[in-house]
Structures are given as structure tokens and as C-alpha cells.
Subunit: 229 residues, 2 copies
Amino acid sequence: MKPPAPLPTSDKRARTRDQLLVAAQQLLVEQNAGALGIRQIALKAGLVHGSFYNYYADVPALIEDLSGLLFASHATLVAGLRSGGDDLAATFARVTRQTLRLIPDGDGYGRLLFDAGLPVDRFVSGLRAAMGADIAAGVRRGVFVADDLDVTISLVAGGILGAAVDLHRGALPAPAIEPVTARLLETLGLSAADARRLAFADVTFITPPSLPLRWQDVPAPFREALRAS
Amino acid sequence: MKPPAPLPTSDKRARTRDQLLVAAQQLLVEQNAGALGIRQIALKAGLVHGSFYNYYADVPALIEDLSGLLFASHATLVAGLRSGGDDLAATFARVTRQTLRLIPDGDGYGRLLFDAGLPVDRFVSGLRAAMGADIAAGVRRGVFVADDLDVTISLVAGGILGAAVDLHRGALPAPAIEPVTARLLETLGLSAADARRLAFADVTFITPPSLPLRWQDVPAPFREALRAS
DNA sequence: GGCCAATATTGACACTTTGTCATTTTTGAC
DNA sequence: GTCAAAAATGACAAAGTGTCAATATTGGCC
């Protein structure tokens, strides 16, 4: 079987692995991660099942890489939002709003995160770490007030996750994103007025990367820093 | 209903199914749900793998039942706490504290919920529903204040989940449970002083059911109401 | 205690999937 | 254009899944 021609190119390895990841994401639209099979993924990616093992040891290994890719993709987005200015409260509001906006009527971020059975540990702990650092910095500068920092971080990170889950389920409508952001800012010690002002401020949102995600679309510095495995 | 049949009155069926659930819980101490095999579970329960199919269609079906059992077990616990009194704020504090106490140094509730790869959807949405009803009732009675009920419920439910995750990971120490409870009560509109008083009140905790869980240990009314499929 | 139908268990079977690997094909640097 | 390294292939052994007719067990009834 044969012949299709020699393809152009350079990093064949990276491209083939992305093909596997793309195939997995397509299958995850209709299946749970637990139901994915090596044969299935490989065929969808245009490979014979034996070739899968050139890239991953087994399906969980691919799933973990996909989960890392999802996190890297979000981290890239956040980095873009963060570079806007150095007002920590305003940055928090921007990041929170844009993150929550990814969920509801979506290209499928919500499904990937909450319904597909991916391990979201890395995502959640990464979110907590990044946000924890920002909140701690805000407290040091006097922008935020928190008598018990760890408790505040848990509640704020949990609140964002809870809102995301509810947005995905339809238990919260999309217009609730700004009120949620405002109340989180209050939890961080801002006055109700300031919280509202920041949460409802006009902002231009960065367009998020569309699915399916590919490592090749992740800027190189992030790719190297975050592709753990 | 079966019109023509001498009905079995034994609980052998229920006992064997509980054996399968127990075997699965034992295996989940060291394995992910995705890695469980029918043969493995059945052998551990003292059966041949073919017998498994008398009880569940496949492993995901058992896992779902286990997830329902976990929720039923918690719901039973909460019902016991709730019957204490009709002060909604005090009840909220009791339920939150006892729920969070299950997680950290545990018989394994934390692992089962957060690490074993069980689908926690039912648990999370059940928590949200029960808590949402209580919060709404509290708002109606003037015990709680919430301008946007859905937002408040999302943030409070998410906060509890977030704290549970962090307790399980060790990012929050067990003594943080009461401060977390206090801040959640503030989110519900109580004054800082009232929140602290309720969150730190002396209470006698009900001892939770120990693992492994069995449907036979769930009181009959809850068993019937919650054993979905 | 012993009988009997309903029910549970068994083990063998066909089928699917996984993981390995020697071989063939493709790639891209020279 | 050549060639060593890298990737893809397909056939295989091993393991798991799901089915089912046959066998064993259970508990109600006398």
C-alpha cells in the first residue's frame, strides 16, 4: 500500500504526535477518555495501531500529554492577558473573566475539561499555583486583603472552578461571569464598589486558541517549559 | 413488576453485589478506576469473571454504582446532621465542617473522590442541589443575604470543593476547616462575628461510615431513593 | 429434612484489544 | 543521489471482554 508521495517537511515527529492528539480530541467529542482505544486513535490519525507506540507508551500517557497541552494552552492565554498592565486587581479580573468565557458556549473547552474524563489535576493545581502567586503578590502590595492567605486562595480558586462547572452545566448563565468576578474580588478584600467597577470594566479579549489543540501552536517558550512528561 | 413468580426473599444478590463493590474499592486504593478489569474485580470478590455480568454490564456501570453509593453515604451523613435543629446557618456550618473533616487524614474518602478517577459529577451536582436548596431557604428566611442566588450558590459550593481538594492535597491544613467555614458564612451574608461564632462552635460530630462502603449499610429509605439505575 | 423451580455460578468459547518486534519504508543531511 | 537514522508496518503472542449452555445453589414449601 503505498505510494503517496513523500511529504514535505521538517519536524515529522512533532507533527505525527500532534496528529495523534488531534485524533484523540476528535474522538473525545463523543467518547469518554476511558473508552479510547489505541487502535481507534491510531487509525483516526492515519496510522496503524503499532505505530502508536512510537509516541506514547499507552492511552493514559497520551491523555496526560493532552491534559498538559490543555494547561499550556490556557497558560499561554493568561500570559497574554497579564502582560497588559501591572494593576493586580484589574489583571485578576481580566484573567478570571476570560477564563470563564472559554467555558459556556464553546468550542468544547468545557467538555474537554469537565465531561471527557481527562485528569484535571494538573490544570487545577496549575491554576491554584498561578493564582496563589498573584494573590500573595497583591496582598504584599496592599491591593488585596487576606488574613489567612491559604484559605483565601482555596476559596477563590474553588469559586472559579465552581463557577466554571456551573457555567458548563447551564446552572449559571454566561452574563453571570461578571457578577462572579466581582464577588471574588470582594473575597479578596476589595470594596463592593471597586469590585464591581473592575469586574464590569470594558476590555478587549484575546481570542483563545481554537480546538483541536496542537503543541505546535503553543509558543516555543511555553512548550518547552510545560511539556513535562 | 413480575406477576407470576415466586419471589426470592433472600438478599444474596445484594450481598454479592456489595462484594463486588467492596472488591472494587479495595483495588481503587492502589489503582485508577480506568485500570480496573472485570476479571480482577470478580476474582477479588471470589467469583469467576463471567459472574460479574450477572450484576453489571461492564466496569463503568459498576463504577457509576459506586459513585452513587458514595453520594448516598454522604447524603445519609448529612441527613443525620441536619436533623439537629432548624437554625439554617448553624446547620450549614455543621454540614460543611463535617464534610470537610472527611477528607484529610482519612480512611480514604479523599482518594476515592479526588484521586481514583471516579466520576464525581453526581456527587458535585448533588452537593450543589442540596446546598442550593438550603441557601435559598436561608435567604427566604432572612438568615442569609444573596443578591444573586445562583452566583452565591456557585461560589459557596465551589469554595467547599476547592477547600476539599486542597485539604486532600495538603495545601490546606486540617485546622483551616473552621476558618474556611467562617468565610463561607460571610459569603452568605453573615457578619464576620456571627460567622466566626458559628464556624467555631462546639459540636459533636457524627462518626462517618467507614470504608469500604456497602449499599447494605445505607438506611433503606436512602437506598431506595438514591440507587438510581 | 427433602423437593423443586428460580436464581446464581461456572468454564469454555469466540472475539477484540494490547503490546512486541523484525522488517520495510521514509526522511533529510551530506 | 546516497545512506544512516528515524518512522511505519503488519504479523504475532498474550490478555481481556462478553456470551452462553450446562451445572450448582438457594430458599419457600410441605
